[in-house]
Amino acid sequence: MGVYNDGSTIIHKSGEGTAGDLVWASDAAPAALLPDSETITFPATINFPDFDKGNCAVFSLNSDGTDSGAISWATILPGEWHYQKTGSKELAQTLLGTVPSGINYLDVSINLSRTNAPDQVLGNTVPIVGIKPGKWSDLDGGCAVLERMPAFLRAIQVVRSGNNIYLRRIQSVKDADEAAVTTLGIAYKTGAQVWSSGALSPWHNLATHGGDARGHVVYELDRKGYGGNINKQRGGANEPSFTDPSDFSCTYEGTVRFRPGYIPS
């Protein structure tokens, strides 16, 4: 190896003298993690709450208007949850520890498993996408997505604020057009649904919502099949149930580990 001063820079080459490849130089400084004693290992329990919920239903008449069927679903409504929100949308940050002054980056690793899964979305398990459960991942910028579906996304960030290190959670539900349009392919009928009996139009194969047309259809609540009676439209005597037992909250448990680092500017 060769270490020499070229007049303005101290250079370490892999070969003899000035020969070989550059290993280090005073203007090509190495990145350094502080001593292992500065590593902080934090046993983490990370909870995400359920979403804001709504509902919708579809309703159908048979051809002569003497029978009907209906299905009701829970919907999740658009919204943003994170540490800067207030009220039910606030996801408080967790102080993981402190680091020495002067460091200028974090080396973050996580090893998490989902210990409480959200309910399935229309029969599909909500996937864990940004980690392998029970295995270590090194996180660029301390960030990882944990769950996502087309409608929503959950992520974490390990953030340095001064000398404090925080774990932050983000939960976000995509804005939606009418849920029935985006998910069911059926347009909502504008206005309140009042079935006047007999007339095939305008209620055949139409959908209603429970007060908020936005949202994503995620969970079947009830169904009233054909046969026996009519008035299965929302507000009818035989309407499907709108009681929502679904729960899309979830919990991850495991370890968040970070080590302070320093690389000269």
Binding site: P35, G130, L153, S172
Partner: protein, 256 residues
């Protein structure tokens, strides 16, 4: 700026003395504070054998992954007569081995994709709204890539993606080696924690490497969509409506 080693501290460092108080080889002398407590005297430390300098165990190397297709799917009716509702598409989770390192412990690693560090949960294929999202992970034997993918009524095509990988060895010391000296033709420091024949992660000029050390968070989420900014390169999913500009960063590479 001495380079000084003190056996009782089992450490050697290059540092700026914060004062001239005390003996040069007194581990408790104020002048040796950066040697004894580097974390508490970071601005005075130029090098310390207790630091971990990301010794390269593998790479940087490019690994091509042939991500396999996922067929389309049209499910049975889930509705009732005349409503004729059905679900389309399916999802799957698959894994690939990027590197077999066999170090016997879970090492640090960097994975880059498309010119910058790969985010955990980054999309590498978006075909008509059907996705392939990946996450690197490490075990004591491999660096792996886990993917979640979803198709619609038609299939998600297979694709080949190139990833760059570096794997870092944990520093270790051998008590019989000198605190600062030679082991054969190698200069060793910290009883072998640093060795001149090894390669270490270091600063490079922008554009010389796909790897960066980002100094703050690299991902933002709004509207159910993400934006990732790593090494100054932005990846923005359609629908993201935030204003995240990304962190400062230092371009780094794998020695020579």
């Amino acid at each position: 700026m001495p380079i000084r080693g003190i056996p009782s501290l089992n450490a050697v460092a290059s540092f700026t003395e914060p004062s001239s108080s005390g003996g040069k080889f007194d581990p408790d002398a104020a002048r040796n504070a950066p040697l004894k407590d580097p974390a508490g005297n970071l601005s005075n430390v130029h090098f310390h054998s207790d630091f971990d300098y990301y010794e390269l165990a593998y790479g940087p190397a490019t690994v091509n992954v042939n991500h396999t297709a996922l067929s389309g799917y049209t499910g049975p009716d889930i509705g009732i007569a005349q409503l004729e509702l059905h679900l389309e598409g399916q999802q799957d989770i698959r894994e690939y081995t990027l590197v077999t390192h066999n170090l016997g412990y879970v090492p640090r690693y960097f994975v880059a994709y498309n010119g910058s560090r790969l985010g955990n949960g980054q999309m590498v294929q978006n075909s008509g709204g059907f996705w392939r999202i990946v996450a690197p992970f490490a075990t004591s034997s491999i660096i792996g890539l886990r993917e979640w993918l979803a198709s619609g009524s038609s299939s998600l095509a297979g694709v080949t993606r190139s990833y760059e990988v570096m794997v870092f060895a944990n520093p270790s010391q051998t008590p019989s080696l000198p605190l600062m000296g030679f082991d054969g033709s190698d200069l060793v420091l910290g009883r072998g924690r640093i060795r001149s024949s090894k390669r270490y992660l270091r600063r490079v000029k922008a554009g010389e490497s796909s790897f960066d050390i980002n100094r703050d968070v690299t991902m933002d989420v709004t509207n159910g969509r993400i934006k990732i900014v790593s090494g100054g390169n932005a990846y923005t999913e359609p629908g993201y409506d935030g204003s995240f500009s990304g962190p400062s960063y230092v371009a780094v590479g794998g020695g020579w």
